[in-house]
Amino acid sequence: MARGDAELSGGHGYMQRQSAIRLRWRAYATHKQLVFMFLPGFLVFVLFSYVPLYGILIAFKHYQLLDGVWRSPWAGLEHFRRLFAGHAFNQALRNTTIIAVLKTLLTFPAPVILALLLNEIRFVRFRRMVQTVTYLPHFFSWVILAGILFSFLGSDGGFNKLLGLFGVEARVWLIEPAYFYAIVVITHIWQTIGWGSIVYFAALASVDPTLYEAAIADGASRWRRVWHISLPSIMPTVIIMFLLSIGHFLSVGFDQIYNLMTPPTSSVGEILDTYVLRRLLTMDYELGMASSLFNSGIGLVLVVIANRLVKLFDKEQGLW
């Protein structure tokens, strides 16, 4: 916590608001240069992130375009009721949670592992080539990737031909509910792993090489070097990336699911985003905002919990 805050909460018995303000003013005044650095960006941030925030009210209003957000009549929690009471909401919530948990457990660590593995490659050219290639799928939209996947995993696609060599019977993999989550998670990892690992490459680049040299001199095995030097060095970055991603826990990748889902897999593939989309036939801004608020609320709770957990282990880490 900042020093100014600590002094204020210290609570001098008779301290008045006046002196509190004076104290804070002095805290800012002693950091005049820093304040000037800070302000331009902060003002831009407030302008574009906080001024439009009143739009959240749409979720609680009967939104009339002509009256605007403020003057539209209140609707209370009606839109949330509509959101939660719609047909098969529970199914959508359950599927979303399953996919979210799977992606958090499996997709999130994947780029960390890739970065660590690549870091062990000593041939620089090869390492750079792999880095470049793994980041390619990020640039293809799911419309295109889905087309490629449907043909690769189709009845006479490449995957079946490959499995045919081992005598496995051909299937249309993407339309079988049993494999849907596996395909969603694997293709998601495949698409994002290279892109996601860039930040870890950068973190590994700033590890002091003398640490490795010392470890080698001490006879530390390669495994111990990864475990005791590389991993701890990028751990702060891993934690930050985790905290940043957990806030979007329920956003499990609309584009991917929407493009991969077919009628046979809809019972496992229907997620909150597709559920809401079906209801937006008539510019239902209120329902859209209610659903987005629901996602944000869950995200907020998770971020706060995760941040507190991190602080339990290390007070220096965390988002705030």
């Binding site: 900042a2 020093r3 100014g4 805050d5 804070r24 950091h31 240069q33 820093l34 650095m37 331009p40 960006g41 902060f42 831009v44 941030f45 574009f48 906080y50 001024v51 439009p52 925030l53 009143y54 739009g55 957000v69 593995l117 690549l118 062990e120 490659i121 750079r128 080539m129 792999v130 880095q131 470049t132 290639v133 793994t134 980041y135 390619l136 799928p137 990020h138 640039f139 293809f140 939209s141 990737l145 690769f152 860039i198 490459f201 950068a202 680049a205 700033s206 090489p209 003398t210 080698i216 095995s221 390669r222 702060p236 970055t237 806030g247 859209g288 608020l293 907020l300 220096e316 705030w320």
Partner: protein, 291 residues
């Protein structure tokens, strides 16, 4: 350096695994490239290793003849360059004070940033804001709203915090002001993270279309991704359901042209990464400090 047998096996297995993974990731690129080089009526023809038997540049010729391609390229380059400059300068300037433990209300301000990442007011209030600021149909509508975001700020601040405090302390002893410390010490030491942020920002500006679609009226101000969207998405997301059954429709976007558009739009940004990689060279941080 002598390797143990176990280490040799690990190295070989590691290299093999990474090669295999890389090959699967080359697939979509080769697929789209192959398609873009095919003649329109040859899409279904047998092909060798994804490449057509008789490659042709006719799809590319068609795209480069498009009346709006040049303007769109200019606009995209412009927004990417300005957007990069705005993000790197403003975000790092804002992040630096927040990385200093003595900065007042630091924790509260960080909470403000994180909160903004989770909640947003939707399209309409943002559009009204841009409109009332008089930024409709200007480049600023594409550059400023994303100039300082929580995500970038947190990542940069986190890196700044990891810079050993002694380095700055000794500079301060030598009488350096905050601006000097920031530009002469902090920024140069932060090259890897700034490279990452630059890459993230550059790519997201290059790939962005929604803001341009909303804020830009003039055809000359359309960005490159809108092109892609029009050719690739349009067919699968037509307004009137059943446009595919419009019987008089003879002209539609062939797969080959879509693929070529993907290549034309994405190639420049794909080629940038190898240049960014140079900033990830080991030992930049301490090497430059000690040197």
């Amino acid at each position: 350096m002598k390797l143990t047998r176990g280490e040799r096996i690990f190295e070989a297995a590691n290299a093999a695994l990474l090669t295999l993974v890389s090959l699967t990731m080359l697939y979509p690129l080769l697929y789209v490239l192959g398609l873009s080089l095919s003649a329109q009526d040859e899409v279904a023809a047998p092909r060798l290793l994804l490449m057509p038997l008789h490659p042709t540049l006719s799809s590319y010729a068609k795209i480069f003849a498009h009346p709006q391609l040049f303007d769109a390229y200019l606009m995209t380059i412009e927004r990417t360059v300005l957007g990069l400059a705005a993000v790197l300068l403003l975000t790092s300037l804002t992040a630096y004070p927040l990385s200093r433990k003595t900065f007042p209300d630091r924790s509260f301000i960080m909470k403000l940033f994180v909160f903004s990442m989770l909640f947003n007011g939707g399209i309409i209030p943002t559009y009204l804001l841009i409109k009332n600021l008089g930024m409709l149909d200007t480049i600023w509508a594409l550059v400023l709203p994303g100039a300082v975001t929580a995500f970038n700020l947190v990542v940069i601040r986190n890196f700044f915090e990891s810079i050993p405090g002694e380095i700055m302390e000794s500079a301060r002893m030598d009488g350096a002001g905050e601006w000097r410390i920031f530009f002469r010490i902090v920024l140069p030491l932060s090259r890897p993270v700034l490279a990452v942020i630059a890459l993230w920002t550059g790519v997201s500006h290059w790939n962005a279309w929604f803001d341009a679609m909303i804020y830009m009226q003039d055809t000359k101000h359309q960005v490159l991704q809108l092109f892609l969207r029009r050719t690739v998405i349009e067919a699968s997301l037509s307004l009137t359901p059943g446009e595919e059954m419009n019987m008089a429709r003879v002209t539609y976007t062939p797969e080959t042209l879509k693929a070529a558009t993907v290549m034309v739009v994405s190639a420049p940004i794909l080629l940038i990464y190898p240049f960014v990689q140079r900033f990830f060279v080991k030992g930049i941080l301490l090497g430059s400090v000690k040197g």
